[in-house]
């Protein structure tokens, strides 16, 4: 087994990187894959909280890099799902505590053991971003349908292209189909005006994300959440499956489908 390293990043903060990382990790594990999620946001760790594993941290990524513990000791097993692990970030250090070479080495050690290694990148384009992207085989950029977030996504695409990582994929998060319909939100096509990027998912704005994050249970674990289903669809696309729900050629029908779900309640 040689795992694929997927880095989730965005440029702008607060668009849902951590939520996306937690849910994609969970969804991939639900599909019987062996998954490890790494929080690369050193000093501002949050993936542990979103995944509901914050009470079980003993060692963290910086401890591994500093040789204080073995990699296995920093891996927290998620007891709810077979094959899902978290490597938390350090909370007391900063981005400079880890180098891109460290991240490549850590991922190199994890690859034989896992199908997927997901890295939750910090916001920004500095050291933390560089650390998160260095070992990536694939980069997922999360944006929301807002000018500021899409602009930052465009910047990130430029930086990823310069790294020769292959074309990144885009998740449009927190879309509100009702607002798009009445012309008060950027539509999927408007966001895709930014240069060459593959759309891998559209996640509707969904209260259940907030509720599940309050509880520390990623929404992908729940069956009746539309956002959870959207993340599951993304995970299936990551596994190479074609998921008709995200038909790129027919964004209108996609919107209508979301809209139908929406009004179904």
């Amino acid at each position: 087994m040689s795992g694929i390293v997927i880095t989730v990043t965005s440029g702008k903060g607060g668009v849902g990187k951590t939520t996306a990382t937690a849910n994609l990790s969970m969804a991939l594990a639900l599909a019987k894959k062996r998954v490890v999620a790494i929080d690369a946001d050193i000093g501002l760790r949050n993936l542990d909280v979103v995944m509901g594993l914050e009470n079980r941290i003993v060692y963290d990524l910086v401890d591994v890099v500093d040789g204080i513990c073995r990699l296995k000791q920093a891996m927290i097993r998620d007891k709810r799902i077979e094959g899902l692990y978290l490597i938390p970030a350090a909370q007391t250090r900063d981005k400079t505590a880890v180098t891109p070479e460290d991240m490549i080495a850590v991922c190199g050690e994890l690859r034989p053991e896992f199908d997927y290694i997901l890295i939750d990148s910090p916001a920004g384009i500095e050291q933390g971003f560089k650390n998160a992207v260095a070992p990536a085989d694939k980069v997922i950029i999360v944006t929301t349908p807002e000018v500021s977030a899409v602009r930052d996504a465009d910047r990130i695409i430029g930086l990823i292209e310069a790294e020769a990582k292959g074309p990144p994929s885009l998740i449009i998060n927190r879309l509100r189909p009702d607002m798009v319909k009445r012309g008060d939100m950027l539509a999927i096509d408007d966001v895709l005006d930014i240069r060459g990027i593959e759309l891998i998912g559209v996640v509707p704005d969904d209260e259940s994300i907030i509720i599940s994050t309050n509880r520390g249970i990623p929404v992908a674990l729940e069956n009746n959440s539309l956002a959870g289903q959207a993340f599951k669809n993304v995970s299936q696309r990551l596994m190479g499956q074609t998921v008709p729900f995200l038909d790129l050629d027919a964004p209108k029908s996609l919107l209508e489908r979301f809209s139908r779900f929406w009004h179904r309640g």
Binding site: P145, E146, V147, V150, R151, D154, R155, G158, E161, M179, V180, R182, G183, D184, M185, L186, A187, D190, D193, I194, R195
Partner: protein, 87 residues
């Protein structure tokens, strides 16, 4: 799609459309690193120079900045009505 018209033309007051125009505006700025006033000036000067030699259809002018394979490209589509100087 006439980007410059979108940037400088009149906009509907729907906020989604305004957002789209503002997005395209900042992306052009970010990519070619020219401030908006300079872009508008460049467009006017291009039109002035071409107008010296040919009559052009001002309504049909389409000047946009696109990105192809990491290279910014200025594409001008200017309909000519007639030449001013017959040979």
């Amino acid at each position: 799609m006439n980007l410059f018209d979108k940037l400088f033309g009149s906009a509907s007051n729907k906020s989604g459309k305004v957002a789209k125009e503002r997005l395209q505006f900042v992306l052009v700025q970010d990519r070619i690193k020219l401030p908006p006033a300079t872009l508008a000036q460049m467009r006017d000067e291009i039109i002035t120079v071409i107008s010296k030699y040919v009559d052009i259809d001002h309504d049909g002018i389409d000047i946009s900045v696109t990105n192809v394979a990491r290279q910014s490209r200025l594409v001008a589509n200017i309909p000519i009505l007639r030449s001013k100087h017959s040979v």
